[in-house]
């Protein structure tokens, strides 16, 4: 039965249900149980933000706290996935990829190709992404474009609790390595979520709002900013269609092109830095595939080409705002 659930709880439920359904699913990461071997409470944290809280009580040692040793445990998760397990490894913050990236992009991503199609690597790497948490330059980045650049990886970023549960279950059941990005500022966001297990297929964008004047494309937190912008613009008689990409690799470019063919205007929003971002990629692809349909130059709204600042005053203007999205749409409407 559907009921309101936060994205955090939806992710917890997805892990719980998959662990119950499939004994080969294990979950590992730093502090995902919390307090292992300590004199106090075990399952003390359930993840640094409590996403995995309570799972240890149900599934015991199929949840494993790891040492602060990303290369070792991310690599172990990847190795185990080629040997009959379906590990879900939590890389606390995607920013930490720097200390284990070889295992992800040189190993997991390439096994199937290098080994002539003989390997399957059903590993899911969960990680927090995104700014707005006052976590500064090394705990706030939206590094999704770095992963979408790598053939062999799949990249997911949900904008709401319903999608998060369905996409995570899909990721765990998927036989390729998946980077599952969780925007920490959406953990508290609630939507209707069915109690039952369900999946959302990859490469299916979600049209969260239909409109005929302009197409706004984004993913994660940005989708909510886009909705704010669309509400404002509706009052000005500008009718926006919002495409939530949901998965960045594979990516549902057809839905974007279809929408642009209908609206003739494209605004790509991305919390990542601008160079080689998802926004830049979509703009290029749409310009190529639907050039004739464009009534105005596509607009990009991204973070600036800077690290994520700490000071709230700066961080708040770092993330693309509803106002800047609305301005970009107005630009495309200008005669």
């Amino acid at each position: 039965m559907a009921r309101k659930l936060s994205m955090k709880d939806a992710i917890n439920e997805a892990l719980d249900q998959e662990m119950s359904r499939d004994p080969t699913v294990i979950v590992m990461g730093e502090d995902i149980v919390g307090g292992s071997g300590s004199p106090g409470e075990n399952d003390a944290w359930g993840g640094v933000l409590g996403v995995t809280k309570g799972l240890y009580a149900k599934h015991g040692d199929r949840l494993m706290d790891t040492p602060l040793s990303e290369s070792a445990y991310i690599g172990a998760a990847i190795g185990a996935s080629t040997c009959g397990l379906r590990p879900v490894a939590e890389l606390m913050f995607l920013d930490f990829m720097g200390v284990c990236f070889d295992q992800i992009f040189n190993q997991a991503a390439k096994f199937r190709y290098m080994f002539g199609g003989k390997a399957e690597t059903p590993v899911t790497i969960r990680a927090m992404v995104g700014a707005g948490f006052r976590a500064a330059a090394q705990h706030s980045q939206m590094l999704t474009p770095i992963f979408t650049h790598i053939p062999g990886l799949k990249v997911v970023c949900a904008s709401n609790a319903y999608d998060a549960k369905g996409l995570l279950i899909q990721s765990i059941r998927d036989n390729d390595p998946v980077i599952f990005c969780e925007h920490k500022n959406l953990y508290g966001h609630e939507t209707d979520v069915p109690e039952e297990s369900y999946t959302i297929p990859f490469a299916e964008a979600n049209i969260v709002r239909e409109g005929g004047d302009a197409t706004i494309v984004g993913y994660g937190l940005i989708v909510h900013r886009a909705q704010e912008a669309a509400d404002t613009l509706a009052k000005e008689g500008i009718d926006c269609e919002i495409v939530d990409l949901r998965t960045l690799s594979p990516i549902d470019i057809d839905s974007v092109v279809e929408s642009v063919e209908n609206t003739g205007r494209l605004v790509c929003v991305d919390e990542a830095n601008p160079r080689c971002s998802i926004a830049a990629d979509i703009t290029a692809t749409v310009s190529q595939q639907a050039f004739g349909a464009l009534k105005a130059a596509p607009q990009l709204v991204t973070a600036p080409h800077t690290p994520v600042p700490f000071s709230p005053a700066l961080e708040d203007i770092y993330i693309p705002s509803a106002a800047s999205i609305a301005d970009a749409v107005r630009k495309t409407m200008a005669p």
Partner: protein, 359 residues
């Protein structure tokens, strides 16, 4: 602003269909309203002179908001202004209702979701069709509840009921219906079935005539062999919005009713573990190769129960001609409606249903 179904809390007044000063009679279409579920014309529940259009086209209004004022010409404008001024959206039972929107019954056929509306009056049970759920009745349940105790439930494999089917057949689903009646402690009821749900109702009536007071069969399965295989196969196999939307267009005469949220809701349902298997089993057993396996016409006729058959003239799933395969039944073919006639022409259908139920 009308309340269509249990989850509706607000609606957009798309446009007025009548001008101020129009004399309105019951059933006239007076405005277009759209919810996140469906768009439809609002039919007048009362007659009178439309003195004032309060609601503005394009605006969103909460359920029970004041959209217009009917009053005799004798009433002065000042009085009307005062009324509008004083009008407050009734709190209604919304909060309490929100809790009571859905209930669950643990039956021998598994956990079944249902809605219960209305107090006194005869028991009425609404049975949705293949791939549907109790929200298919969202334009009917409240209207019927005015004069009856109405139950609408999700069949196994559907909506939010258990997704596992004891037996993927009409008889199996009829068994679940019996189990539901036992669980909610209803001895006998007036059965209203849509499409496959009609066949379920009929089959149940054949097995336990004593528990059926009347039969109302809408766009019914089980009255003939033909059924649109493209629709069934398309519905079962569709994996994406792109694939599902064209299939759903078969359901309505007015294709604009197939909006994004209708498609999304069905996709969400189809993506729940077990649903795909359930639908495949049912489709394979009930309509292999586009041929209905269970034809109950004679059986039903033999029962001699008060029987109503309603069909949308433009039904693209099951031919309306099947309506005439049931001798002795009251038959009504409604123009400007498709397979989902109970949604597209709700007030007419509600009228007919009450007629058959209250005799």
């Amino acid at each position: 602003m009308p309340k269509w179904g249990l989850s509706m809390s607000e609606g957009i007044l798309v446009d007025w269909l009548v001008d101020e000063g129009t004399e309105i009679s019951v059933g006239d279409e007076i405005m277009e309203v759209e919810t996140d579920k469906i768009a439809s014309a609002v039919e007048a529940a009362d007659a009178g002179l439309l003195r004032r259009r309060v609601g503005e086209a394009g605006e969103v209004y909460p359920v029970r908001a004041l959209l217009g004022v009917l009053a005799p010409a004798s009433v002065g404008d000042a009085e009307i202004d005062a009324f509008i001024e004083a009008y407050e959206v009734p709190e209604g039972e919304d909060e309490g209702e929100a809790e009571a929107q859905y209930e669950f019954a643990d039956t021998v056929a598994g956990r079944l979701r249902y809605a219960r509306r209305g107090g006194d009056g005869p028991a009425v049970v609404l049975i949705h069709g293949f791939g549907g759920d109790l929200d298919n009745w969202l334009f009917n349940i409240d209207a019927l509840a005015q004069q009856a105790r109405v139950y609408a439930f999700d069949l196994p494999g559907h909506g939010q009921s258990t997704k596992s089917l004891e037996e993927a057949s009409i008889a199996g689903l009829a068994g679940a219906l019996g189990a539901f009646l036992d669980a909610v402690d209803v001895g006998s009821a007036h059965l209203v079935g849509h499409s496959m749900g009609a066949a379920v109702a009929a089959s149940f009536a054949g097995d336990s005539p004593g528990r059926v007071d009347s039969l109302s069969l809408i766009s019914a399965a089980g009255l003939g062999e033909e059924i649109n295989a493209d629709y069934i196969d398309g519905f079962v196999s569709a994996q994406s919005r792109r694939e599902l939307k064209p299939v759903l267009l078969h359901l309505f005469a007015d294709s604009s009713l197939v909006n994004r949220s209708l498609v999304d809701d069905l996709l969400k349902y189809k993506r729940i573990d077990g649903v795909q298997e359930a639908l495949q089993q049912l489709a394979a057993n009930l309509f292999p190769g586009g041929v209905q396996q269970t034809v109950l016409a004679e059986k039903i006729a033999a029962l001699g129960k008060p029987t109503l058959v309603v069909w949308g003239a433009e039904d693209q799933v099951i031919p309306a001609a099947h309506a005439h395969n049931l001798p002795g039944a009251t038959v009504e073919i409604i123009d400007g409606a498709g397979h989902m006639v109970q949604m597209e022409q709700a007030s007419r259908v509600n009228e007919l249903l009450l007629g058959n139920i209250l005799g």
